[in-house]
């Protein structure tokens, strides 16, 4: 007979997964509408439904109790702490922005539009689940839902073989690395006998003393890294990133470069901090003795940044350039993870929020110019400043923010990350990141230079509709606002730990 408190706790748990439920409801509704109405005329309807679903998913969060690190629900499959509390609305915003971007730009035509919205909602739900879960099984399931659906999203444009090729590469690469990660999970399960992270963390602390157990732990960490570094597109598992980002339709690329990547980093925090680090009460943690994974990660971070920046110098296709730039930013974010401290975690989350706006902004402009008649190549941007000043000024602001120049949010994000690394006295990484900023200046400025300083080679008129301008404005305001006065976000982010 199921114990009383068990049912009661589960029923109560249901209220915690309110957002996911609402999203599922929205998906079902869109499916229904898709079946009933001939889909090629009602594009705006699906957008409204999807945005309403995403917005609705955020509502139940306010009624829930004060988040606490140990408040687990649904028989401790999930935890309701500050990280979850902030991540769920974050992913909702990511979903909304992607859907608005698909609506505004014509990349995805009406026939596939309903599937696209459904998949976006589903992936968002997967991410929300992943962020909250503290059980290996639940993590794997959420990871896979997010993964598999995003393969589909990449391959959504049936007629365009570039999108097909990207999807193929993504699915093969993704499946293989998540398989490896699963193998790592199994090893860890073998060591600890349970799939709950808390139980495992006690066993790990105990096991790291014995040499042969430590070997098993090292292999487990390696396979973990395979999966996580794949998702966050960091060296050495980044090879899929440029091709998939270039192949996929631009709104989806924007979504991939922010949604799953952020989920990857939050998963990093979920897995590595409880399992392989000690000293939770103090603001500075220590890696479990014997497993010096932070120095490995520091090296990976340095290589990722440098590789991302250097490879981006020669790119002429803007989507590919932004792909490499997102790899470089993954390197910067790893810096935050590497500095095992409260400030480090806060800097990662802060940078993710800032990165969301400026990156989606940049991709939005690329999408708009492509759909308004230009190409993704840099040639169509030459002398664009004179012909489409609004879009170009917006693009310049996003790019300067990506470089990390002061009046914009990117700079503050960089300051947070630098602060985290310097707080932990890893000076060499700070200096490497500093020099990388200079290298990144070069290729970001190539675009700005093309837009403002060079003579136009093509003479087509780029007309950007009002809806696009409004979306750009919505992205510009946080990029500029957070650059000048970011106290509110700082308070929210620091409230978490």
């Amino acid at each position: 007979m199921i114990p009383e408190n068990f049912i009661q706790s589960n029923l109560q748990g249901i209220s915690f997964i309110g957002p996911e439920l609402i999203l599922t409801l929205a998906i079902l509704l869109i499916l229904l509408v898709g079946v009933l109405l001939p889909y090629w005329r009602h594009r705006i309807l699906f957008t409204i439904l999807a945005v309403a679903g995403l917005a609705g998913s955020v509502l139940p969060l306010w009624k829930l109790p004060q988040p606490a690190p140990d408040l687990t629900y649904l028989s401790n499959l999930f935890v309701w702490d500050w990280l979850t509390f902030l991540s769920k609305p974050f992913f909702a915003v990511v979903g909304v922005l992607t859907i608005l971007l698909t609506q505004v730009t014509g990349e995805i035509d009406n026939s596939e539009y309903s599937e696209c919205t459904i998949l976006v909602l589903a992936v968002t739900m997967g991410m929300m689940l992943l962020v909250a879960s503290t059980d290996l099984l639940m993590i794997y399931l959420a990871f896979e839902t997010m993964g598999i659906l995003s393969y589909l999203l990449v391959g959504i444009r049936a007629r365009d073989e570039r999108s097909g090729e990207a999807a193929l590469k993504y699915v093969l690469y993704g499946a293989f690395t998540s398989g490896t990660m699963l193998f790592g999970f199994s090893l860890l399960f073998g060591l600890a006998g349970s799939t709950d992270l808390l139980a495992i963390s006690q066993k790990v602390a105990f096991a790291s003393q014995h040499p042969q157990d430590r070997l098993l732990l090292i292999v487990a960490i390696l396979f973990f890294l395979a999966g996580l570094l794949f998702k966050t597109a960091s060296f050495p598992f980044h090879f899929w990133c440029p091709d998939v980002y270039e192949g996929a339709p631009t709104p989806i690329t924007a979504f991939l470069s922010v949604g799953p990547k952020a989920a990857g980093f939050v998963l990093f925090i979920r897995l590595f901090y409880p399992l392989f680090a000690t000293g939770h009460d103090a603001t500075i943690y220590e890696a479990v003795s014997g497993l010096d994974w932070p120095s490995i990660l520091a090296l990976v971070s340095a290589i990722t940044m440098t590789l991302g920046n250097l490879a981006a110098i020669h790119q002429n296709n803007l989507k590919r350039l932004l792909a490499y730039s997102s790899i470089a930013h993954a390197g910067y974010l790893l810096m935050g993870i590497v500095s095992l401290s409260d400030l480090g975690l806060r800097s990662v989350v802060f940078y993710l929020v800032v990165y969301l706006f400026m990156n989606v902004g940049a991709f939005a402009v690329v999408a708009m110019v492509a759909s308004a008649g230009g190409s993704e190549e840099i040639d169509s941007y030459r002398g664009l400043g004179a012909r489409a000043p609004y879009v170009c000024v917006a693009m310049a602001i996003f790019l300067f923010s990506l470089i990390g120049l002061p009046p914009f949010a990117g700079f503050v994000g960089k300051v947070y990350l630098f602060a985290a690394v310097i707080y932990k006295k890893i000076y060499w990484l700070a200096v490497v990141a500093a020099l990388n900023t200079v290298i990144s200046l070069y290729y970001y400025l190539r675009i700005v230079k093309a837009m403002f300083l060079e003579k136009p080679t093509e003479t087509i008129q780029i007309q950007v509709p009002l809806s696009s301008r409004v979306l750009l404005l919505a992205l510009l305001v946080p990029t500029l606002g957070l650059g000048i006065y970011w106290q509110p976000l700082a308070r929210v982010v620091s409230g978490m730990f």
Binding site: L137, I148, A167, G179, L182
Partner: protein, 107 residues
């Protein structure tokens, strides 16, 4: 006849390595998918083996390993389904599922 835990681990590792080998050497997309399946099954076997051989004191609840494997099988199926869908859509247009032909996204 009593089988000890290490033998299972050896088999699962073998499965894992074979899967990895297949993924690396096959030029055919479907072949690669099979390799991935092997890797997933290797992991599943691992879970079952650990669940079976670990004493009750070491594990909080006995059957979590088996349940995990069930889910793995389900997810693997979904994954293959999606992968095949993508490969089919590619085949219908490119008339080939040889992985070598898809390399115009590069640089």
């Amino acid at each position: 006849m009593q089988y000890s835990l290490p033998s299972f681990l050896i088999v699962s590792s073998l499965l894992f390595c074979l899967g990895m080998y297949t993924v690396l050497t096959r030029r055919n997309a479907i072949g690669i998918l099979m390799g991935i399946e092997l890797v997933l099954n290797g992991a599943g076997l691992n879970f079952v083996a650990f669940s079976r051989f670990l004493e009750p004191s070491q594990t909080t609840n006995l059957l979590s390993g088996q349940i995990f494997t069930l889910f793995i099988i389900a997810v693997a199926a979904a994954e293959v389904a999606v992968a095949l869908a993508i490969v089919l859509s590619l085949y219908s247009r490119m008339k080939s599922i040889d992985v070598e032909d898809f390399k115009n996204l590069r640089g």
